[in-house]
Amino acid sequence: MARYVLRRILLALPALFGLVLLTFVLTRVIPGDPAAALAGDSATPAQIAEIREKYGLDRPILEQALVHIRQVLTGDLGRSIFSGRPVTEEIAQRLPATLELTFAALFLATIIGIPLGLVAALNHNGPVDQIVRLLSVGGLAIASFWLALMLQLVFAMDLDILPLRGRVDVDLGLPPTVTGLLTIDSLLAGRFDQFRDAVWHLVLPAVTLCLPGLASIARFTRSGMLEMLQKDFVLYARAAGYGKFRLYAIYVLRNAVTVTVTQIGLLFGALISGAVAVEAIYDWPGLGTYAVQAILTADYKALLAVTLVVGVVYAVVNVLVDVAQALIDPRVAEDVR
């Protein structure tokens, strides 16, 4: 098992290395003259030359690439052009908010999506199955930014039962930072009012963000279950006298979710993308709002750092997914190709 995990990590490294190279190419090659881009529209040729020298842009391209790689490896992603603060610092401050949101969405999608898929498969071609089918296709067709606005319109503006935007109620203050996740930190501090507030603020963004994930998880669980229900071991287990609930909800489901788990890994990229829009609309102080702000202020350093960080998170999630899969299905770790 340990060897398997190590191998998955090693396999993820080339893609991460490629990602570093790609960010380099994006900054140095595509904008034409990055010095001019850095200096801004009103810069004089002398200022541009100065910036070129300062950032080492007058060196050979290969040397620049090596410098860039070294900087990334040592965690130096440069300073934000907008705020002048180190980009890593700003990202570290915002990452927990995004992680809390995406985890909440993933959690919702999983605990609703898997039972939905299960029930749909057990009622194959029945009314429940048709509803889940429509939901799983429709859920992937809704634009998250539009859904966010509609939910705001109904639940925050019209019914006024959920907060419109933000992550906390300022009057309640913040719990001491331990994990950076407000729901957990408030519980650790024993502040249930803050916990309730954090959850309250999380509801609309998490619901908006979870819908596409819920749709795919329900869909993959359904097809996985349908496939597994044809297997001989299901018949054998029935003959041997497994209880109905245990047979479907544990015994067969575990086989069916191996596919779903892979899907969750692939979903993570979509979740991060969705988070950009959802955060922008709900004023959620995470990486997404940071990225949007970086676009508006033409802060390309910040934007590239976000690309890199998100790429790393994505790679980590995919390694975790592989490990989870090996835990669910013991044959995975032993399958040496």
């Binding site: 080339p14 893609a15 991460l16 490629g18 990602l19 190279l21 790609l22 994006l26 900054t27 595509i30 904008p31 881009a37 194959h124 071609n125 089918r133 429509l134 296709v137 429709g138 992937l140 067709a141 809704i142 634009a143 998250s144 930014f145 539009w146 859904l147 606005l149 509609m150 705001q152 319109l153 503006m157 019209d158 097809s223 349908l226 496939e227 692939l266 990229g269 991060i272 993308s273 950009v276 829009a277 922008a280 609309i281 990225a291 949007v292 970086a294 676009i295 508006l296 033409a298 390309y300 934007l303 590239l304 976000v306 690309t307 998100v310 790429g311 994505y314 790679a315």
Partner: protein, 314 residues
Amino acid sequence: MSASDARSVEPSHAAPLPGNPGEGRGGLKRPRPRFPALRRLLRDPVATFGLALVLFAVFVAIFAPWLAPYPEDAFESHILQRLRPPSAEFPFGTDNLGRDVLSRVILGTRSALLVAVAVVGASLAIGVPVGLVAGWRDGWLSELLMRVTDVFLAVPQLILALALGQLLAPGLTTAMLALALTYWPFFARTVYAETRRLRGALFVDALAGIGASTPRILLLHVLPNAAPAIVIRATIGMGFTILTAALLGFLGVGAAPPDPDWGLAVAEARQHLPEAWWFPTFPGLAILLLVLGFNLLGDGLRDIADPRLRRSRH
């Protein structure tokens, strides 16, 4: 993403083996029904509904200037009648500049479909050759191509699109370029998997044995067999592209005012909530319906291609 795993490997009927035309089916004179896939699709009401939505959108896009009640509202504004609620005169209401929302939704269909077609087309043009070459050969070229594909897949699509859109001048062309650059890896993966699968098939060995050239095998035999998987991918990709393009428009790195763009309209409507509920609602519904159409169609096609999940069973 294993829509095709269960399908058996057999040569496509569009490409009979050279040297034995019609042999083996000599006794069967009954004409094959034309468009068998379409017939099967039409038997599935939900997929048919998807197809109808897509065809309707194509129709609207083509005849948009004639269908829109106020085609000049693409660019003109009428400040005096701004933010009117839906009425007989303006069924979907008017926007912040007094333009007819219905007209702009109709006119926006054209750009939405255009972006989708262009992006999916460009992604096909990059992804299919990469997948074919990488899947057919072993060696450094294949490795390199697939590693590059993996890198592009590792970057979250939207973020890369945003970064690109920022580095180049923001606009619809940049958005399309960014979307194509981030979508081709999906086609490369699909075609790669199909080519790998077919490479081991007996009929391909037979073709190589009788001396067919590699390009010939790839273009006339492997590609037609990989076509169902590619078509399904492309259909779902159309819906996905429309969604992402709308999001780019919403975030201000896609279509620019005063273009009648659905995503942009939702963004413009934000400041006028909750009063002007109709302003974001109808453009959003248009996105939903068109993407739903493509997704249902893709779903139906997948069911046809993958007998394992076919609903007519039991």
